[in-house]
């Protein structure tokens, strides 16, 4: 099982890195999302894999899994959401500024994008 989770983490990283290296905003954002999953799983894995032992104190249970990685990952998930939301708006703004969704924001004379964009003056 450990090997399988390791493969999953590696796969997510690999796909995430490939997408992160693309030239357009949305694939990069998706790549970052995949890397976020991978990082969260990796952090979570540092508490090792334990079944049926959630860290919820009960008088009858003596064994619990490690709660610290879980606490870390929980906030990481929420912050990851904040980050995704932010870079999505950044991508929209970039599209509006350069008329294109290329990550380098190279200004082009004529917009090739199918979306018409106007800036409020």
């Amino acid at each position: 099982m450990e090997a399988m989770l390791a493969v999953a983490i590696g796969l997510l990283f690999g796909c995430g890195v490939y997408l992160m290296l693309r030239a357009r905003t949305l694939p990069v954002i998706l790549g970052l999302a995949l890397i976020s999953y991978a990082v969260n799983l990796f952090l979570f894995a540092s508490g090792r894999l334990v079944i049926n032992a959630p860290p919820i104190i009960h008088a009858d249970i003596k064994h619990y899994t490690d709660p610290i990685p879980q606490a870390l990952v929980l906030t990481a998930i929420v912050i990851g959401f904040g980050m995704t939301a932010y870079i999505l708006t950044l991508a929209l703004r970039g599209l509006s500024e350069s008329g294109d969704d290329h990550i380098d924001m190279v200004e082009k004379a004529e917009s090739t994008s199918s979306t018409q964009v106007k800036k409020r003056h």
Partner: protein
């Protein structure tokens, strides 16, 4: 004396007043120029008043020291010192400062607002006071750098002018670099002396001088002093700095800042002097600067430039005197520091008046002004006489001391005739350039084609000059009465030993020094008479401009830097990320190999069918999204599949809280991405060349393999945890059974406070980005199909309305039970967000917008206030920040609820999460509405 125990506090109080006072001119600016000037002057006057009670101690030779520990382990303390030297410089800084404030009010153009100027001037004044009042040498270096910065700002006063900016940058580079050398020197000094407190450093003088690091320390400290005091070959920034307004030139670049280097020599005289290295390096540099500055000054056609080179020359004279390192030469150096500050400040101000009245500073055009402005001319001529060393003026006295010292000095072995000859030559040159200034500007025929018709300036503009010239005469005629005590205590503080016996008076009888003065006067006037021959001869000399050298070096640096940059930086983010990843792989592998850890490879758990299916789904999602990322809608959906599998992984391996959070985040994120996709291009063009794809695949595989390997190593390595504490203390200390939640809101509450702050910032950032944005929605999709009209199916709409209270009830339930069972503020916030967003999706954003608050920023603030407020509350009970308390409350239906103070904290978390989700999603929705309308 019990009173005197409180007196040292006046030192930090003075600096506090100075640094906080610099904001006042900016505030007062709106009440007009006069009020601004009065405020700036008042700040300086207050500083002076605060220091005056300490002067009697400094006069009697006992320094006043105020010491407050700051970071004692680093040797950095808030410690201040007022001794004779500090007193002398404080009086110069504040006294001349007040005159400059008055002068600047009349000098600067009427339509300039003066708030910023006076604030910068006060910043300089405060930093300069900091230098001369510091006991801690690290603090002194910080103040030293602040003077360089404020000088930069003030030189660039006319920031629209290219020349001003270049000059300001040059001054900053030279003096700033010197400041860094000084910092290095001080660090070494502190290391050798074992302390950064001046008193201890002075006590360790013998030890420092015998240390092998002494030459390095001396050279570094001298670099600081020489760059600041414009010593050859670092002098070139000073003439260029003359583009600054004249009040700045008078204050910074003649009277005070350039004297900081001299101050440094005086300060470290007891620590570093007395060696051959000091003697030769300081006196030779000083001597060369003395003659070079005077020689160049003679040929300047711009009278402000003449004064600048004269300043360089006089600073060289003072440096030379410190270099000679006899007690009497130090007295002469300190005396000349006072005299030069007085006569040169008045000369600069007079020059500023002339510039102001004539509109030019070219001495080939500015002639015969004596008839037009006799009072100013008289004042300027008196000050220039002092500069030349004419008897009855203060400059004569210290120059006479210098001549005497040059005769009696015997430190250069057998050739003791060199110094007097050298001194006389310098004297001749000084008289020559002073004569040129007086004769060219005030006599020598009629003005030539002046831009303005000169006449006497307004009454108050001349007052500062008058005061300073009266001082020149006072000191020149009654030296012992006027500055005797001040000089004695300042020189004593510099020497740190008993003063030599000397007699401050005008007439010392017929002696060699007087003869030298006479030769200088006669020779100087003679030299000026034959100026046409001299100019002709000088023009044949090769021009070696250190300014040109500096500019050339600067150009070279920029061009080469650009060459390097064009190789490593092609402005492609893709390239940056790729390079970054390559290094991650290299360093990661290297760390792993050299770390020597071994993978045990022991699996603890068997595979099962469910897990294999889950992995397949995950692989399908991730690979599918990657391979089909050109089809954007599809890839977003596939990514959300990955998110769902991740949630399942959390659920399976005993992390129900994570599973809940991941699930709700997944919903919100997917909605968000779909909304954004609405405005973005629907597909990605295929534009990557195959070589780049190859590179990216290689990198992706490399990183993926590495991370899989590291994960496997981590998962199978032996395990120890620090979590036992949390597991044991969760119920008794935190009052909650859900350990993850207790960690979040209680044990590590401060971290969580930080994290929700980040979340709030992301939301506000997104708000700022979207606020000005207006996007028009296309009528057709990428395939050319019209978007459907019935955007909000009735069925969904009707179904969603009753669901809202239900969803909110679930959120409340999840929130309340969070401390004991999976749930809590984060999850409840997300669920609430999703519930409200569903209404928008079903009913349309305009439907939701009418019913939801328009602005979520207050809710963000409220949430943060709850979380931080409950933390602050614990201070009321004298507990540390975020200490929790808890108790039981029985609520009907829900049963026994253990209510902890962290509940309020969690409520803050909840509010921030809800506000963030709604803010971003509704802002995106509003773009849509605008588009429809537009």
């Amino acid at each position: 004396m019990t009173e005197s125990a409180y007196l040292p506090i006046l030192l930090p109080l003075t600096l506090f007043t100075a640094f906080f006072g610099l904001a006042l001119p900016l505030i007062v600016e709106r009440f007009g120029r006069k009020a601004t000037a009065i405020t700036a002057g008042a700040v300086m006057a207050t500083c002076l008043v605060l220091l005056v009670p300490l002067f009697s101690f400094a006069m009697s030779g006992q320094p006043v020291i105020a010491h407050y520990d700051w970071m004692p382990s680093f040797g950095l303390n808030l410690s201040f010192r007022l001794d004779g030297l500090g007193m002398l410089f404080s009086i110069l800084i504040l006294g001349i400062g007040m005159l400059v404030v008055l002068y600047a009010h009349y000098y600067l153009p009427d339509n300039d607002k003066l708030g910023r100027f006076y604030a910068q001037l006060l910043l300089f004044m405060a930093a300069m006071l900091g230098i001369v009042l510091s006991e801690n040498l690290l603090m002194m270096v910080v103040f030293w750098e602040v003077t360089s910065l404020s000088s930069f700002l003030l030189i660039a006063y006319k920031s629209a002018s290219h020349e001003s900016r270049i000059a300001a940058r040059m001054a900053l580079v030279v003096t700033g670099a010197g400041g860094l050398a000084l910092l290095a020197g001080i660090l070494l000094l502190g290391k050798v002396a074992g302390s950064y407190e001046l008193t201890q450093v002075i006590e360790a003088a013998a030890q420092i001088k015998s240390d092998p690091l002494y030459p390095a320390i001396l050279i570094l400290v001298l670099l600081g002093a020489f760059t600041k005091s414009a010593q050859f070959p670092f002098h070139f920034w000073l003439p260029n700095a003359m583009v600054a307004p004249t009040p700045v030139s008078a204050y910074l670049h003649s009277a005070t800042m350039v004297k900081a280097g001299v101050f440094l020599l005086a300060r470290f005289y007891p620590v570093l002097s007395g060696t051959d290295l000091w003697l030769f390096s300081v006196s030779v540099i000083g001597g060369v600067t003395l003659v070079y500055g005077a020689y160049v000054a003679m040929y300047r056609n711009d009278f402000k430039g003449l004064l600048a080179y004269s300043t360089i020359s006089h600073l060289g004279l003072i440096t030379l005197l410190f270099g000679l390192s006899t007690p009497m030469s130090v007295v002469a150096a300190v005396f000349h520091t006072i005299n030069h500050a007085i006569f040169k400040a008045s000369l600069f101000m007079a020059a500023g008046i002339i510039d102001h009245e004539c509109g030019t500073r070219d001495m080939r055009r500015v002639n015969g002004l004596f008839k037009l402005m006799p009072i100013t001319a008289t004042l300027a001529m008196l000050a220039a006489g002092s500069m030349a060393g004419v008897p009855l003026l203060n400059g004569f006295l210290s120059k006479e001391m210098f001549f005497t010292e040059s005769i009696v000095f015997d430190g250069f072995g057998g050739s003791h005739w060199i110094l007097p000859i050298f001194a006389t030559i310098a004297g001749v040159l000084a008289v020559a350039y002073s004569a040129r200034f007086i004769h060219d500007v005030f006599f020598n025929g009629e003005p030539v084609d002046l831009p303005r018709q000169p006449h006497e300036p307004s009454r108050w503009m001349r007052v500062p000059v008058e005061i300073l010239v009266v001082l020149c005469l006072l000191v020149g005629i009654f030296p012992a009465w006027s500055v005797g005590a001040l000089l004695a205590s300042a020189a004593g503080a510099s020497l740190q030993s008993s003063l030599p016996i000397y007699d401050l008076k005008i007439w010392h009888g017929f002696n060699l020094a007087l003869l030298m003065s006479l030769i200088a006067l006669v020779g100087g006037v003679g030299l000026y008479m034959m100026r046409s021959t001299l100019v002709h001869w000088n023009n044949q000399l090769p021009t070696l401009s250190s300014r040109m050298l500096f500019e050339r070096a600067h150009q070279h640096l920029v061009i080469n830097a650009e060459k390097v940059m064009s190789v490593i930086d092609n402005r492609s983010l893709q390239r940056y990320i790729a390079v970054f990843l390559v290094f991650v792989l290299i360093y990661g592998s290297w760390a792993y190999v050299s770390g020597g850890s071994r993978v045990s490879g022991v699996s603890h758990m068997r595979l099962d069918i469910a897990s294999i299916i889950a992995l397949s789904a995950l692989a399908l999602g991730a690979l599918g999204a990657t391979f089909m990322h050109h089809r954007r809608l599809l890839s977003i959906i596939l990514i959300s599949v990955v998110g769902l599998v991740v949630a399942l992984v959390f659920l399976r391996f005993s992390a129900p809280d994570l599973a809940l959070t991941q699930l709700s985040v997944e919903v919100v994120t997917t909605v968000l991405m779909l909304l954004a996709l609405h405005y973005l291009p629907q597909s990605t063009p295929k534009e990557s060349i195959s070589l780049r794809v190859m590179r990216d695949v290689l990198l992706a595989v490399g990183v993926g393999l590495a991370m899989a390997f590291v994960s496997f190593a981590l998962l199978t390595s032996s395990f120890s945890t620090i979590s036992d504490f949390y597991l044991q203390q969760s119920v008794p200390e935190g009052g909650g059974h859900n350990v993850v939640n207790v960690i979040l809101v209680d044990f590590r509450g401060f971290d969580t406070l930080g994290e929700i702050s980040v979340l709030a910032m992301a939301a506000l950032g997104a708000h700022a980005l979207l606020d000005q944005l207006r996007m028009v929605q296309p009528a057709r999709d990428s395939a050319g199909r019209l978007w459907a009209d019935d955007v909000h199916p009735l069925f969904l709409k009707m179904l969603m309305r009753p669901l809202l209270p239900l969803a909110l009830a679930v959120a409340v339930y999840i929130f309340l039970r969070g401390h004991h069972l999976p749930g809590g503020g984060f999850v409840a916030g997300l669920v609430t967000g999703v519930a409200l967003i569903l209404q928008s999706l079903a009913g349309g954003f305009s439907f939701a917008e009418d019913r939801l608050p328009r602005s979520y920023a207050p809710a963000l603030g409220l949430g943060l206030a709850f979380a931080a407020g409950v933390g602050l509350l614990s201070w009321l009970f004298a507990r540390p920040f975020l200490t929790s308390t808890h108790g039981h409350i029985a609520i009907p239906l829900l049963g026994d609820i253990e209510l902890a103070s962290v509940m309020i904290f969690d409520l803050g978390v909840y509010l921030v999460v809800v506000a963030t989700v709604l803010l971003i999603l509704t802002e995106l929705g509003r773009l849509n509405v605008r588009g429809e309308r537009g």
